[in-house]
Symmetry: C2
Subunit: 355 residues, 2 copies
Amino acid sequence: MTSIHDLARETGVSTATVSRALRGLPRVSEDTRRRVMEAAVRLGYVPSPHAVGLASGGQTRTVAIVVLFVTRWFFATVISGAEQVLRERGYDVLLYNLDDDEEARRRVLGTHLLTKRVDAMLIVGLGPTPQEVHWLSNQGMPVVTVGARVAQWPSVRVDDELVARTAVEHLLELGHRRIAYVGMLNDASLSLATPRARVRGYRDTLRDAGIEPDPDLELEGGFTLEGGTAAGHRLLALSPRPTAVFCASDEMAFGVLRAARREGLRVPEDLSVVGVDDHEMAALFDLTTVRQPVLDQGRVAAQHVLRLMDPQQDADAADHVELATELVVRSTTGPAPGGAAQGPRREGAKVGVAR
Amino acid sequence: MTSIHDLARETGVSTATVSRALRGLPRVSEDTRRRVMEAAVRLGYVPSPHAVGLASGGQTRTVAIVVLFVTRWFFATVISGAEQVLRERGYDVLLYNLDDDEEARRRVLGTHLLTKRVDAMLIVGLGPTPQEVHWLSNQGMPVVTVGARVAQWPSVRVDDELVARTAVEHLLELGHRRIAYVGMLNDASLSLATPRARVRGYRDTLRDAGIEPDPDLELEGGFTLEGGTAAGHRLLALSPRPTAVFCASDEMAFGVLRAARREGLRVPEDLSVVGVDDHEMAALFDLTTVRQPVLDQGRVAAQHVLRLMDPQQDADAADHVELATELVVRSTTGPAPGGAAQGPRREGAKVGVAR
DNA sequence: CTGAAAGCGCTTACAG
DNA sequence: CTGAAAGCGCTTACAG
């Protein structure tokens, strides 16, 4: 391990000069700089990040991204967007995949990340508890959330109530009255803001249309393919059967479609299905869905993180961004059996809001 | 930022004793330890990783995972498996998503990771160039690869030639003779070992059956859904049309299925399709595929990484693990039109090899 | 069981 | 333009 001292000895200058030369600082003669650089390359010098960090005020040039499930398309895509932006600016990304493990969550959020390991954090898909907010704020840790909204920190999200409203109104316009919901109902373990907002939007929209939400039509799908499949089967066993279902994610919608196919139901003649995300596979299933920009949520969040760390900026903590969503009508939704549709079918109509 | 000095002052002992007490080292009285611990909690002390790292020999307790595409299911799943194992052992994971960017690859593999930022690396899905191997080896960096095999480093993979053979033999047994291939043919940018081995296995198996591989039947699918769809359309425009197609990944197979559906072809009556992976969505499409253990590849690779870093073990660099694969027969493959099948249809027959 | 001191590999005023 | 020296926050023999 060649150090700065080796370079100093090799070139006959002081370590201070070597340090300046290496970092391209001014007040170093061109000749000296050249010789130092040459020696660095020749001896294979690489700086020690620990020494650099210690000497220069503890910055790590590292950002933590905390997600619920790397394997879910949504999370992987957010990571992809954020990582790109951060890496371009010279930041490394430390990944923490909680995997729905309470213990892991406690260790990571409650202890580990308080250790000055990172300069900032990006929390994706989970709503930090007040205690977690307190801990992290106490350490002066810059935090940005994706999907959840915490008053103290900048956030990037879509309007999940509006997302639900968009989907349900589409079904109402098609004449459906008996509309089921597949989402996450008991998120006791990991407090997720998103599922709550979507079920709320679902209920409110029904009420606005004069329909009292029926608890029997709200099913647990766990935001997974398997959960969606199981929910689909339970839902199709109800009588009278719902004529339409709003799934809070495309992956659950895929599961419901599978269940419908297994039970020999036609979509959309017997059952209309609408999802959320516009997952990369959604077009494959011809799924009607409410599209949200996922890569962009990662990118924008990363930009907020960078801004928060920039001492130039006065960190305006209350910066909440809502990205636009839009209804994408494909072929899994159609008129309610027997019922007359109330409105025209819209093709990819923009219904989201931009900030 | 309370430091070890604050704790020393607070408790009236030396910093050396504080350090020992905090880390649970022996030769500290119970009373002293208790007082130090109490003060640490009270003052909200957290150690500086940089100082710890610098003082204790430069270990970072961090492992880099380098992948091609986080957003692809395969990579995300490998990450998930590896991250879990590493975190359990107290290691952090630094994620580098190359995203098929040559420039990024050069920066990450050629410069950035040589900076002592991590104690070891896990390289997933890309075959390091001889130069990269040279650089990293020179730095004494412990490296494990997933999917590619480099002589100097431990690797975890499946036998990709056998994977291709399994798929193609399945089609041959069903009486198919005109069998197309969708995979990656020109991987000029990022040298991938996997696509090469699969196309080789495809060709060899055909030759063994007395069929000379037809270059016109080998299509570029880019290992993506879109690439698979496009390849599917091109393939179905051939005349005579192939009766079966082996896709080097399930995602491309999904695309081919979509193309077939769009063109009004029946699967498997008009076209048999077999993929590779057993992607989480494969069952949804009833896709016949060659399953590979993905989470396990991540887990096993992480264990190798841990072993490599363990000074107790003498790093046996030449440790190459091949995980078993198996043919999963679903409903996208069937007898060749007009041709008599040569063998019985096998249901989920194990055909892989375990090490 | 405890402390004084050196050292890890850099950066940063301060002089010159 | 350059160097001597202090300091970043810990750990680690070495004494006692």
